[in-house]
Assembly symmetry: C2
Homo-oligomer: 289 residues x 2
C-alpha cells in the first residue's frame, strides 16, 4: 500500500471516528472513506462535512471493499459489529478499534472475527472532548496526543505496522502496551476522574441549595465538572467493560477521602497539611499537564 | 470619602490581597496602599510590582493610618491578626476580610476586634487560581466574578456600603448572603471539589504504575487535577474551619460513588445510564460555566 490506505471504512461516525477520517483525508493518507452508522442523518451530515466519501446503512456493504476497517462504536456494540462484519471482510482486510477499554474489545473481536482476528489491532487514541457526534469531529484532534496499541502475540506484524503508520499520519504519538496494563492505567487516569465528576454533579444536584450552588461555582468547579458532560452511553459501557479495575480504584479513592475526614474529625492540622503538600508536590511535577 | 479610599492596609500580600490592591490602585479608587506580611522579601516585591506604596513589618504600624483594612491571611492566622491589630485601629477604621469560610472568621473577628467589630464586614471574593504569592496577583482577577459579603445584624450599614463599593470598583458582582449559607454553598462548589482533586492525585501517586499513569493522563485529567496545585496551608485551614459542612458532603459524595460501584457489581446498565444521563443533563444546563 506504499504507506497509503486506498479504502477505509469507519464503523460509527462519532467524534473519534469522524476526526480520524477528517485527518486522514485531509493529509491524503486515505483515498476513500466509507461510513457506517445507525443514524442516516449523521451519515448524511458526514458526507456534507467531508468526513465521508460515501456511506451504507448495511454494515457488510460498508466493509466489503475496505482495506482497513476502524470500529468506533460504544464498547457495548463491539461484539455485534465484529460478528456481523466478519463474513463480508476482504481476506486481507485489517481491522482496528478505538475503544477505551481493551480487554473486553479483544474478547469480542476474538469471538466475532474468527480467522480475521490475526489482522485485528486493538487501539485507543488518548484524546477526546466532552462533545460528541460527527459535527464535533476535527482533523487535529490527535495531533501530539498519544495513541496506545495493544497487539497480542498472534497479531500480524504487518497489520500492526499499517495501523501504527495510520495513527502517525494523524500526528499521534503511537505506543504499544499490554492489554491489562492499558486497562489499569486508563481506569486511573480517565475512568476514575469521570466517575468523580459525574458523582459530584449528581450529589450537588440533590442538595437543597441546588440553584445557588451552581451560581457560585468558580473556575475550579467548572474545570472539574466539564467532563461530566461526556456521553452517558460511552461511560455506561466503560464501567461495565472495565469494572474490576474501576471498583478497586473507587475503593482506594474512598480511603483517601476517609483520611481527610479522619483528620478533620480529629482536628489534625499536621496530617492535613502533609496530605495537601504531597498532592500539590506530585501535581506540580507533572510537566506539560 | 466620596467613594474613594484614602488609605488602605492589606494584611497578607498573596494572590488575593495583591490583586485587590493592584485593581484599586490602577483605577484610582484607592490613593495609598500599605502592606503587612511576615516575609519582607514578598513586601519588597510588592513595592517593586506597584502593588504597595509602602509596607511595615509591624502589624500595628501598618494599620494605624488606614481607613480600610483588608485581612487576607490564611484562616488559621485570622484570630491573631484581629486581636493584635485592634488597639492600633483608627476609631473610624473599617475592617474586612477575604476568607473562604465565614463562620470561623466572624467568630475570630468578634473575639479580637472588640468595639471595632461593628465596623467589620465579612467578605469572600469567589476568584482565585492555583498560583499563589504576590507575583501571581493581577488587577483583573475580580472582573465579572462574584464577591459575597456576609454582614451580621450588628454590622454598620455605612461600613457595609464602603466595602460593597470597593469591590464593585474592582469589577466584581457583589451579593450578600447569610454566613452559614455561604459556608454550605462554598463547601459544595469549592471545598469538596478541591478535596476530590487532592485525593485523586494522592491515590494515583501510590499506584505501582505511577510514572506511566501520569504520562497517559489526557485533557480531562489535566483540568480535573489542576486545583490540586493550590496552597496546602490555605486548604488545611479551610478543612478545619468548615469541617462539619465538608464532612457531610464527603459522606454524601461517597454515597454517590457507592451507587456507581453497586451498579457495576450488579452489572446494571440501566442504573448506570440513568446516573450518567442525569449528571450530564445537570452539567449541560449550567450556562456560562
Amino acid at each position: 500500500m506504499n504507506g497509503l490506505i486506498n479504502s477505509l471504512a469507519i464503523i460509527g461516525v462519532g467524534l473519534i471516528g469522524s476526526s480520524l477520517a477528517l485527518s486522514l483525508k485531509q493529509s491524503g493518507y486515505v483515498k476513500r472513506v466509507t461510513g457506517y452508522g445507525r443514524s442516516e442523518a449523521s451519515l448524511q451530515k458526514g458526507l456534507e462535512l467531508g468526513v465521508l466519501d460515501d456511506y451504507s446503512l448495511s454494515l457488510t456493504d460498508a466493509v466489503s471493499a475496505a482495506d482497513v476497517v476502524i470500529v468506533a462504536v460504544p464498547l457495548g456494540a463491539m461484539a455485534g459489529v465484529f460478528k456481523q462484519m466478519q463474513p463480508a471482510l476482504k481476506a486481507t482486510a485489517i481491522v482496528s478499534d478505538v475503544g477505551s477499554v481493551k480487554a473486553s474489545v479483544v474478547q469480542d473481536a476474538r469471538a466475532g472475527l474468527a480467522d480475521a482476528f490475526v489482522r485485528f489491532v486493538p487501539g485507543h487514541p488518548i484524546a477526546g472532548s466532552e462533545h460528541s457526534g460527527v459535527e464535533a469531529g476535527f482533523a487535529s484532534l490527535y495531533q501530539g496526543r498519544k495513541t496506545i496499541l495493544t497487539p497480542l502475540e498472534e497479531t500480524s506484524g504487518d497489520a500492526l505496522q499499517v495501523i501504527d503508520a495510520m495513527w502517525r499520519a494523524t500526528g499521534a504519538l503511537v505506543e504499544n502496551m499490554d492489554v491489562d496494563h492499558h486497562d489499569r492505567v486508563l481506569a486511573a487516569t480517565s475512568h476514575l476522574p469521570h466517575m468523580l465528576a459525574f458523582s459530584l454533579v449528581s450529589h450537588l444536584s440533590k442538595l437543597s441549595e441546588q440553584d445557588e450552588i451552581f451560581d457560585y461555582a468558580a473556575g475550579g468547579f467548572r474545570d472539574f465538572t466539564r467532563i461530566a458532560s461526556s456521553d452517558p452511553v460511552m461511560w455506561r459501557d466503560i464501567c461495565l467493560a472495565n469494572g474490576s479495575a474501576l471498583l478497586e480504584l473507587i475503593d482506594g479513592f474512598k480511603a483517601e477521602l476517609d483520611q481527610i475526614s479522619g483528620s478533620i474529625r480529629g482536628q489534625n492540622p499536621d496530617a492535613l497539611l502533609e496530605f495537601f503538600r504531597h498532592s500539590k508536590h506530585t501535581r506540580d511535577q507533572l510537566r506539560n499537564l
